[in-house]
Every structure is written in C-alpha cells, then in structure tokens.
Symmetry: C2
Subunit: 365 residues, 2 copies
Amino acid sequence: MDEHHDGFESALSVNPGIPQPAIVDNASLQRFLNHSRKVYGVDDYVEGILQNNRTVLSKAITLVESSLPEHEQMAQNIIERCLPHAGKSLRIGITGVPGAGKSTFIEALGKYLTAKGRKLAVLAIDPSSERSKGSILGDKTRMELLSADPDAFIRPSPSSGSLGGVARKTRETIFLCEAAGFDTIFIETVGVGQSETAVHSMTDFFLLIQIAGAGDELQGIKRGIMEMADLIAVNKADGNNLEKAQLAKTQYQSALHLFPKPLSGWTPQATVCSSINNTGIEDIWNTILEYEAATRQNGFFTTRRLQQSQYWMRETIQTTLINRFYTHPAIEKSLPLYEEKVLNDQMSSFAAAYALLDEYFAGLA
Amino acid sequence: MDEHHDGFESALSVNPGIPQPAIVDNASLQRFLNHSRKVYGVDDYVEGILQNNRTVLSKAITLVESSLPEHEQMAQNIIERCLPHAGKSLRIGITGVPGAGKSTFIEALGKYLTAKGRKLAVLAIDPSSERSKGSILGDKTRMELLSADPDAFIRPSPSSGSLGGVARKTRETIFLCEAAGFDTIFIETVGVGQSETAVHSMTDFFLLIQIAGAGDELQGIKRGIMEMADLIAVNKADGNNLEKAQLAKTQYQSALHLFPKPLSGWTPQATVCSSINNTGIEDIWNTILEYEAATRQNGFFTTRRLQQSQYWMRETIQTTLINRFYTHPAIEKSLPLYEEKVLNDQMSSFAAAYALLDEYFAGLA
C-alpha cells in the first residue's frame, strides 16, 4: 500500500475484498477528501485503477457517484483516461423479483467463475427508494463467500439519486472496473421497476432469474422484461421443488417462442438451476459463452455496444445539463424561495420555472 | 369570426366542434403560421381563448405543442396570461387497457355532462409510439356524438415527442381549456405504460375502466395503477356479461381494501356500468362529485394541486434545459457529426457528450 492511499484508508476503514458502505452525501464526501493531506490527482487514481488497487477503484467510484461539479469534472477525467483500457469484459445483466434467490445465484455463479480464473465485478442498479426491496447488500451479510474472494469485487448501488442518474453512474463504474482488469461484470437489479431497461442499455447479455410458483408461471412477470431476456433460469430447482421448476421451464420455453426473434439472431432459452446444490450453474455459463460467440460472429455484439454508446451520449448530456442547473450557486439559493411561492400559490409553476431559468442563463452569459 | 382568424381558418379547414388533426412537424407548423398575412400576437390568442373561440384555442394548443424556441416563448406568454382564468375545472384522469371501452364510456359520460350544462374538454396523453394501441382518435370515427357536441372539445394527443414532453404539453393545454371556459377536463390514457403516473400528476380524480375477464380479475392490472385509482368502473356490464361484471366489481372492492388508505382520506370504490345501455354513468358522476366535495372540505384538493405545481415546476425546468440545448444552432449542426463518431467507435460517448456540452456553454457565454 503506498503512502498516497493512507488518508483514504483511515477515512474509509477500507478492507479490500469486503464491500464498503457508499459515501453518499456530499458533506461526508468532502470531509473524506479533505482528510488526506496530499491532494490526489487524476494520475493517482488512474495508476491505482490500472494496478487493480481496489481501494483506489472504490474511491474513484465514490467520485463518480458524487454530484458536486468539481468531482464530476475529475471523475470524467479519470473515466476518459481509463476508457482505452476498458470494454474488454463480458457484461451480464441479472434480474429477478425479490425472493427469486438472486444473491445466492450470483454467489454460486461468481464462485464458479473465479475458480475458473475469471475476475468478477458485481454492481447494482437500484435507486434509493427500492433498496429495501432486496437489492444488493441491503443485507450486508449476503454473498459472504464472494465478498471474501480476492478475484471478486462487490459494489453496492449508489444509495441516492434518480434511476437515470444511478444508471449512468453504474455504467461509468463498469468502465473503471474493466480498466482495473475485471473481465466479467454482473449488473444486478431487483426486477420490479424500470431499472431493467437501464440494465439492458449497458449489458451484452440479459439473464432473468425466476422461481416456480403456483400455477401459471407467466403471471406476474412483465412481458417487456421477458422480451429482453436472452436466458430465463428457473432457480431453486431442488428437493420437492424440482418437478415444479421443470414444468415452469417448459412454460417459459413455449412463451419465449411466441415473441418475435430478437435482432441478435439468438433464440432466447429457458433452463433450471439450483444455487444451493450448484446444479445448472455451469450450463448457464456455457449458454452465456455460446451467446457471446454467436453475436461476436454475426457482428451484433459490437453493434449493440455502439448503439448503447450513442444512447448514453444523450443521457450524459441530459443529466449534465440538469445537474449543472441545480448545482449552480444562484439556483441553489433561489430554488427554495420559488418552490415556497409555488406551494403557497403565490406563483404559477411556469412563472417560477422561467424565472429560475432566466436567472440561470443570465448567470452563464 | 373576426378577420384576425381567417388565415388560420383556411389553413386548417377548421370546423368548430370537429376534432382537428394536430399539426405536428415544425415545417408544416411554420407554413401554417406564415400563411396568415397578419402576425398574430399574444393578445389575439388570449382574447380568442377567453371568448371560447375554439379555432383560436386549437391554434394556441398547436403552439404549445411546437418545439421551436420562438413558439415556446409565445406559448408561455399565452399560458401565463391565461393562468389567472384557469384552475376552476374538475380534472379527471381516465385510464384502462385497450378494449375496455374507454371511448364509448367517455362519450356516454360526456353526453351526460353536457346535457347537464357542463362544458367538457377531452385531452389525451400518449406518446407517438403508443398511438396505434387504442389512444384517442387513433380511429377518427370514435366519439362521433361527442365530437359534434358544441359543449365538448376533443383534442388528440400530440403525436410526437417523449412521454415527459407530451405530458407537460397536455398539462399546459389543461390551463388553456380552463381559460376558455371548460369546467370539466378528461385526460385519457391507454393504461399500458407509465403514462398513468403522468395523468395522475395533473388530475384531481383518477378513474380506472376495467372489463370483466375470465377468472381472476386482478391479474393483468398493475398494482401501481390500482393504487392510484379513486374509482374502478367495470364497463360492459350488460347482457350476458352483467353477472361477470358484478363479480369482478366485488373482487376489485376486496382488493382495494387491502391497500393503505390514501392521503386524500377517500376510500376508493368499485362499481359497474354499461356505456351502451347508459347504466351506472350517473352514479359514477355522483361519486366523482362526492370525492370533490370531500377533498375540498378536508383541504386535500388544494394541497394536491399545489404539490402538482411544484412537481411541474421542476419538470418544466428540465424539459426546457434539454430543449434549449437540442435546438441551439451550434448543437443542431454538431450533434449528427458526434453521433456518427460514436457509432463508428471513433469517440467515446463521454468525450462526445462533453465536447457538445462545451460547445453549447461556450456559445451561451
């Protein structure tokens, strides 16, 4: 550990390999950054990331997650420098309703992958309001084995911000993890909201974890989510549940055939697995590799990534425009006053909006 | 008809009371605006709206729907001038899946209301991609009776733009309709996407139209939509279907009791109706009036409108920031070039986004 990182270490009580709490509010982030005597520059961050220093990686991600303009600028410089070293991982989206056993599944597949020599980063997209609903590390004792695995890196979801903002930061975090040498990235989401679309917009493969229920398996899962799936895995196919899981798999298989063939040229599949018995895990991984080979060959793999870049170019523009507005000193001062007037019916929403916009644009000129 | 409006009249072939096609693309809007010799000012628009001149109202809505900055400015001036005359209607959101018979229902309830002397405006929120799925006037022969009713004004959904943009324009259109003297506003949406949340953010009452299906009625409807409903009406309760509809109503009633009591203090209800037999329509209206009386008395009616204003203040700011960016001449010129670079992998999404942002902010300074 070089001296550059001591300040950060003590501030964060960092223990590499163990997930750290995200520093979410700007005040504590500022304290954390001030704690260190030395001013850490972009070079320090980039160097640390490329050396697979997890402490530095964690801190860089914290910068990415900050909404302060000065951190935004630094974070973008770090990302830009990391980009030439990024892009080489396989990015896998994993979704499923709470109770489907996502964490146990991720631990089982993750351990299988690190045993095979792969380096795995596990990220999550879930805006704060959804954290309690079973998102990653909502319960910090989950994924104990994987957390302690030196070849795995687990990062909780940014715990504040809108879905759009969180998703963008997660995508930027992917690049940092890739530059740090992780060749496999899981993006977990809880499968109850719109976050699946966000995950789909930044991954190569989309895995839907289901469990066998009572009766019709197709109820309760949104058509839109099924349409995104490249593979549906019916989890908890063990003990008394095995037969039901097999039946559910058959039902999903039939349902998948009803959808139009995806642009990838890949026929979505259904399978069963048991995370506690470790059955079906290897098959799932082989299916993912088959998908990768097929879409690399037909060019879809690259096309999709480039289209994702185009989409995120626009997203980056839009969130930056909005972020710069709300963090502008004049607006930070005036916004509460205008909101008060609107809530007291002394001003219309339009008049207040345009007064603030005029103030902002006048301040820029 | 005064001379100010002749140019518009001939350009639009306006026939008051008959829904007009929305002028959606800016080129045709420009042609339409240039067609008139006289330059129409804010005063002309406001005067015409306050006189309940539907031609002028329609044209003002077309201005609101335009995304050209010069129209945006003018539209905002018109809205601002109309606001003191707005706010006095009862705003009712009506949603339901395609096939639930929303149009027939709106026609039945609408005719009932105009017969009672109310003045009704029917608007819709559905972004372009969803238009074919049963949105208002997707089939122009629908609501024939209501279309010809001099006390009803039907306006199709803006046929382009994002959901957020369309929703904002629909909300602005509400104010214009209120200033024109309409005391009852219906906002229709197709009930398959996120548009319900948008409708909920601009209405006083939320009516969900359902039909009796086979078996469990609670499948296929999102919990979130049911939670927003102040009243669920099971439509097509006629002929052989009557018994099934009654059963469905009972099921909805039980389900509604499972939700936490809403902040309005109102207990959501379920009922049956038949738009073709005109049964249950009057009861539905009386329920809506009961709700209005109860929430006006406990203050929720006003509180909710003010909170909606606060929400839309932020929405207006955000869409304006984004719209000004994309319509800036420098960006209109540079954007396609950068998108091309991103798609050809010559530039990262971040570098392209920040290059465009730099260009934009440099142009503003």
